[in-house]
Amino acid sequence: MRFVLNADVKRQSLGVRIFNPKYIMVYATLGVFFVIYLFGAIMYGDRGFTSLRTILLMFSDNAYVGVSAVGMTMVLITGGIDLSVAAVASLTGMFIAYGTTKLGIDPLWCMLFSLAVGTGLGLVMGAAIHYLNVPPFITTLTGMFLARGVCSLISRESISIDNPTIDALAGWKWILTYYKDGQWVKIKPMAYINLSVIVFIAMILIGMYVLQRTRFGRNVYAIGGSEQSAKLMGLPVGRTKIAVYAINGFCSALAGIVYVLYVKSGWNLALSGGELDVISSAVIGGVMLTGGVGYMLGTMFGVMLKATIPSLITFEGSLSSWWGKIATGALLLLFIVIQRAVVTYTDRKKAA
């Protein structure tokens, strides 16, 4: 038998590429998202559930989860996990709040510092995971404790930020308009794109590019598929793993910045439990914790799907917000069962 180089194979048609069975989890997420969205549209469409404003608000309200989920998706694809993301984001908030209001440092320097700290912490955790063989769960749990503890050492009280630069960044918005009768008219109800939405979408796009089109991205998938094989193939396993945790640290710090722009304050207990929001968004988006499987676009829909539930509960009005948690749990259960079914099905097909 002769081995055929990939380049010899005819490029598949667009239809085959889009309906590739490997995207089935992304489609499942997309499908459930549309079902829930349709339900909301039918029930609360008259109250503006389907308006562009609601959709864009969903993006901007969850931008910090989305930005953090970009890094988390990469970590999960390598077969690891990072529990420190929310604590690092909270720490970023504390740095910016304390730095600008108590120390009078320019917020841009605070942001740069936070990004450096986040990346550095990720680097250290990645190194501990790779060189000391400590399980990612434990390493990043320690990282989370450290970041949360430092948050509380800085201040126990919530510090609200009163700074022109932050106000300008948070307040900047591009109000959507359309052209009619020779002039620009604002969309009704008013819809706008702010910095958080742009950062969210940009990070997803960058993440997609890195995972699908670069050598680094392929290494990430290879390590998740089988670390042993990746090592035997001569791939730079250590470097890639450490880089992934560093990137994730950067993403969590960036998520923290987005969150600061959203709430304009720093609080030591902010986003507690947020790491599980991020992880469950990725899981709902079809990323498998066993590693090797997952797409950035799926994660984005996972974030949006999780965002729809609180939005629906707000529109409902009479339900207590605790139902949101239970609904999220049920959603998680649904997706894991779908994942299991898909895995069992493909395994059986392979065996046959």
Binding site: I81, V134, F137, L153, S320, I326, L333
Partner: protein, 357 residues
């Protein structure tokens, strides 16, 4: 044949480092705070007082949960839902004590439901929730982290809905005894912990259950092929963890005489997992050490107590915990232990020491 005392294997064992760490932390505490080791008996209350008693008392919740967590981790899994189950257990108990706060507005020395239901119902519900976790993992083959994430997210919601988001308070004396009472001059939580540790130890070491757990943890498929019902073992381990989280929830809510679904058991899952890992049980499954877990839990509580003395705010303790835990974990990590062992061996060879098989 008498087993020879083998210093090498002692140094290489993980529990050794945990004990060393605890002793060092205790000695440092005694130096910094001279009264640290003093225990006094006050006849008027019939109780022992002292920092060490306090450490034992406060570590009760984590130690009890960590007993179950040890089994789960030895199976190669984790249970993230324990903290949420603590909240569910507390909410259920207070619900049964007060039932409806609009109907019984003032907390007092009464209970609406019979007292045995106040204790048994939360434990039963938590055991069922543990069974739910176990079924997802054993029957559907889900990853434990994900399967238990479901209840971790949904559990607090369930706890809130049980009490309609309200914080119930109670003054019912028999219930308060669980967390605030004392027996044999010791606080009740210590007695409960001792009983739980003893029961789990007897159950795992005097029956073959412990060996089965280790076997499934090392290699699930090989265990199944050799005739072990791994499904059943996984299910039982998660049910035990759920049940013990229930006990822990009762102690916590009895301590504060109320239920607090937002804060009850917060970070308990993380602390319990850390206690197990510090105690030398590997996250990848296999051999487990209940004694190590107890020491791990004590280490965490000693650090917390020590840092409190310096007036550090309670939330900031996590930073100190993290640093000490990082040291313990690095000392326990495979490469470091190997380096230690090989240096000792080289040293022994150089001085012409006894050759060990």
């Amino acid at each position: 044949m008498k087993r020879k005392f083998d210093w090498d294997s002692v140094v290489r064992s993980k529990i050794f480092w945990a004990v060393v760490a605890e002793v060092v932390i205790l000695l440092v505490s005694e130096i910094l705070k001279p009264d640290f080791f003093r225990i006094e008996y006050k006849p008027e209350t019939g109780m022992l007082y002292g920092v060490l008693i306090d450490i034992l008392n406060r570590s009760a919740e984590i130690t009890i949960i960590a007993m179950g967590m040890t089994l789960v981790i030895a199976l190669g899994g984790t249970d993230l839902s324990v903290g949420a189950l603590v909240a569910v257990s507390g909410a259920m108990a207070l619900k049964f004590l007060r039932w409806d706060v609009t109907q019984y507005p003032t907390p007092g020395d009464y209970t609406i439901m019979p007292f045995y239901l106040v204790i048994l119902a939360p434990l039963a519900v938590c055991t069922l929730m543990g069974a739910f976790n176990g079924l997802l993992i054993a029957k559907l083959g889900m990853q434990p982290i994900i399967a238990t994430l479901i209840l971790m997210v949904a559990g607090r919601g369930i706890a809130q809905i049980t009490t309609n988001g309200k914080q119930f308070t109670t003054m019912y004396t028999p219930f308060q005894v669980i967390g605030q009472g004392h027996l044999l001059a010791l606080p009740m939580p210590i007695i409960i912990t001792a009983v739980v540790v003893l029961c789990v130890a007897l159950f795992t070491r005097k029956t073959s259950f412990g060996m089965f757990v280790e076997s499934v943890g090392v290699n699930p498929s090989a265990s199944r092929v050799s005739g072990l019902q791994s499904d059943k073992i996984i299910l039982i381990a998660f049910m035990i963890t759920g049940f013990l989280s229930g006990i822990s929830g009762l102690i916590y809510s009895s301590r504060i005489s109320s239920c607090d679904s937002n804060n009850a058991g917060i970070n308990n899952e993380m602390n319990a997992i850390l206690a197990v890992v510090i105690g030398g049980t590997s996250m990848s499954g296999g051999k487990f050490s209940l004694a190590g877990t107890v020491i791990g839990s004590l280490i965490i509580q000693t650090i917390v107590t020590l840092v409190y003395f310096f007036g550090v705010v309670s939330e900031a303790i996590m930073a100190f915990e993290a640093m000490i835990i990082a040291v313990v974990i690095v000392l326990q990590s495979e490469p470091v232990r190997k380096a230690f062992a090989s240096r000792r061996r080289r040293g022994a060879a150089a001085t012409g020491g006894a050759v060990r098989a």
